[in-house]
Subunit: 423 residues, 2 copies
Amino acid sequence: MSLAELSPADLSALAEELTTSYAELKDAGLKLDLTRGKPSAEQLDLSNELLSLPGADRTTDGSGTDIRNYGGLEGLPEIRQIFADLLGIPVAQLIAADNSSLSVMHDSLAFALLHGRAGGTPWATRPHKILCPTPGYDRHFQLAEDLGFELISVDLSADGPDLETIKRLVAEDEAIKAIWVVPTYANPNGAVYSEAVTRELVSMPTAADDFTVLWDNAYAVHHLTDDELAPVDVLGLAAEAGNPDRVFVYASTSKITFAGAGVSFFGGSPATVAWYLKHLSKRTIGPDKTNHLRHALYLKDADGVRALMRRHRAIIAPKFDAVERILGDRLGSYGVATWTQPHGGYFVTLDVVENTATEVVRLAKEAGIALTPAGSSHPYGKDPQDRTIRIAPTFPPLDQVTAAIDGVATCVLLAAVTKLLRG
Amino acid sequence: MSLAELSPADLSALAEELTTSYAELKDAGLKLDLTRGKPSAEQLDLSNELLSLPGADRTTDGSGTDIRNYGGLEGLPEIRQIFADLLGIPVAQLIAADNSSLSVMHDSLAFALLHGRAGGTPWATRPHKILCPTPGYDRHFQLAEDLGFELISVDLSADGPDLETIKRLVAEDEAIKAIWVVPTYANPNGAVYSEAVTRELVSMPTAADDFTVLWDNAYAVHHLTDDELAPVDVLGLAAEAGNPDRVFVYASTSKITFAGAGVSFFGGSPATVAWYLKHLSKRTIGPDKTNHLRHALYLKDADGVRALMRRHRAIIAPKFDAVERILGDRLGSYGVATWTQPHGGYFVTLDVVENTATEVVRLAKEAGIALTPAGSSHPYGKDPQDRTIRIAPTFPPLDQVTAAIDGVATCVLLAAVTKLLRG
């Protein structure tokens, strides 16, 4: 029975019961962490072969280039080929970089800010704004804020973004230079951008002629079901729409091999890649080619990556299942929360009673369960409805995920009942 | 006998002789490259142990942190300690990054341009200039030019920079925000900045209150003689002078282990490091810690690095000796060139007859000997006297260095004689 339908007496009884449960939770002295989308040690172990690769007698790539020396700004051909196949991008339009795709995002934006895109005005010289489908990835928002962008929130549901609002805003405001997109299994709500939505994003008229779609395909191959979605050909669609240079593509192996020691990628139209390389060539002589070869030898080809991702799924899918099961069991009947059931990626978004998310996070923290701060999925860390909580279940072992989600459910209910009683 | 003292008949005879020698040189069909300061394969081989480190059972650093996962923005404590010892910088003031110190230079300058230094005005919002001791490192100059700095040349002799000019310029022009310094065995003339010179740079009055010394200690431990210079305590001197935040320190293992797959470093005052980390934290979750551990296990400690550098010296010192010997034998008596005799680093600077450097490079190229373009050691690639040529002898095997320098000597003489004959 929904909370709102309970009689005053039943509500009081429930409040008492929850207060007791919460006291027991605190007494249990938990120390659990659901904050960050990190692979677990068990997942990292899958790729330990990397720790002794490429091996002491392996000093060149397939073309005979010494991987130990300077050079090769675009990255090793072998590793670019594997991800070109996975992402459906011509290898000439995909370059491989160092361990962090966030860095590639930073650098591509810094280049646009300092130099302008391909002959245009440097973005930094004028007010610049960015569209932030919300809920979204906190590091995207913080990076853009640090770079002086004004963050503009637009709604993102599990079905996709609010296209009408996006189209209206970009058509009328020349200062809007970009939009963040996590097209596949979005962080944190698991949304998937369909081909139809993508087509709109790359073809819609924009006031800024250098408007850019920041296409962070972080979870392109991170499926949680048998339905292994193929990537949308965003660069092909953009070219077809007559806006070939509109898209920056990002990807990485952070949640494929090692989160801190993988390979990242940047893709775009031939002109975009040339522009990026031009400025990159002033920044570095080249990426770490030994790590590229290490990854190419280990992953072998696109199918090697797909096989590895199925092993990841075997480890993490039970954790997502546990989240869904416990939230259903504990909260389902009360009508106090909704949550996403992602088909891939690293997160579950839990929407609680309005104006209680901060309280839920506080209650959980006092009971030893760390959650991402309420609001972190929103621009400037401010959720106007104070209701969205991001849950990251991959890092802790399954029994800890179970205990933590059960505890969170108690906090969600307690906060909801308390709010109701206070009227 | 100096060329200028030769009789017209002797000069004609010499010209004929050189023309024949040059024709023979061209016929030899050489393919030699003295362009870039790259370690040779033999040097890289010294560190092949890195190719199978840290090893499949090594997943944590000394403090138990999983090196495979996210985090650790400052870099692995072990590798920071080794280079803190070598550079004479407190470990808390030295952070370890990825494979390219040029990238760290780019990023620190980009942060200053986009955000300003510690509360100051973003440099990008106003005209910004940088002092370039010349001859200098072409990539320094190109990076600054790409970032919109106006490059101002100041003389750098083998004894150090023209301090009087530097002090006058920085005192009167607020737009001068920085100076490039390669303090030890400067690229390309081998200059060493003494403690006295350093003290002046960190204590001189500057119109800009955020004036920054970009202290690129790329060759701190790259000695070619038994006199293994200790690094000047630039941060200590800056603090003593009341300008603790004036210096950015850069270093890397590019010419210690692998040129393309080493570890780079950034150092500064506590406030400078905090400022850098604040912006870096938006750019990345952390550097490649597996590569840090790989290096820490291989290098072991500061003495491990020193021992490795002596093995490098054993390989490259004979190449520098050959350059010096051949230039002396072939050019010494004619008074047509001077060259540096560096005590460390990666380069020899060859100054030829004015207005002939471009011709020497052209002649050498036609004979199959690649030299860095004349002017590359000067801001904007323009050497007003057209006389400076940078020679990088480390990469080719010794016999190729010998053949290439002998060929270059022929080109230098031929260009000089031709110029003299034309009046």
